[in-house]
Symmetry: C2
Subunit: 112 residues, 2 copies
DNA sequence: ATTGACACCTAGCAATACTGGGTGTAGTAA
DNA sequence: TTACTACACCCAGTATTGCTAGGTGTCAAT
């Protein structure tokens, strides 16, 4: 159901989840799913590469640990990541408002 | 300023503009720009191929005409296009609501 | 004569979400 | 003991799609 609608917005979503409190990849997926009310059910192949990308750009920092015999990589926001989250947030606001305006200009008959 | 944020949402926007009243490519660009309050200032290389794609999928139908010595291709929604607009609209609603939920779960200090 | 708005087009590039594969641990059910 | 599920990580390759950068041509204004 996720489709490819979140192109360009995935980073914002991930940063938002990790900002809440540091989380490892699997927990990020869970967080996105639960917080969105099951709308975002992202495959691992989407989230893990995104996390790597974000770390490479210096927006996230990670640490390995072992919990219950399983190795985990826990991510948290860097200063740069916080700034980026703020900026992306504003961009989203701007973007979604603009979409609403465009849609608002279109008459649409009683939704069947 | 447009960035690549509208990936996956461009079709919705175009359909919405054309639904208002049939328009040619250049007018679609103008419509998006004015309706969005200058947020969406899309290059021709983005819009024209999208229009072709939409026509190819049967969501739009076009007709050539000549106005003031210039040839125009005017697009209008097909029945299928109307259904698609409705569906995409709902998807957008769903999507943007979900994003808001995810963001809402994140505490954010006083915006500097 | 040249510039700018109008009006169309396309090939190739770049970014990025996803598919489909892989590794390994722990717990539970058969 | 075996099998299956949840947990937890990884990567190569694909596909979609918006954009860059080029092109053609008309008309009005400077």
């Amino acid at each position: 159901m996720s489709g490819q609608a979140l192109k360009g917005h995935l980073d914002l979503l991930i940063l938002a989840v990790v900002a809440g409190d540091p989380a490892h990849g699997y927990a990020v997926i869970e967080g996105l799913r639960s917080r969105s009310g099951d709308v975002f059910d992202l495959p691992e192949g989407t989230v893990y590469p995104a996390l790597h990308r974000l770390e490479k750009s210096g927006l996230l920092r990670s640490e390995w640990s072992i919990v219950g015999g399983r190795r985990r990589r826990t991510y948290q926001l860097t200063k740069k990541g916080e700034r980026s989250l703020s900026a992306e947030w504003h961009k989203w606001d701007n973007f979604s408002t603009a979409v609403a305006k465009v849609l608002g200009g279109t008459p649409w008959p009683a939704t069947t």
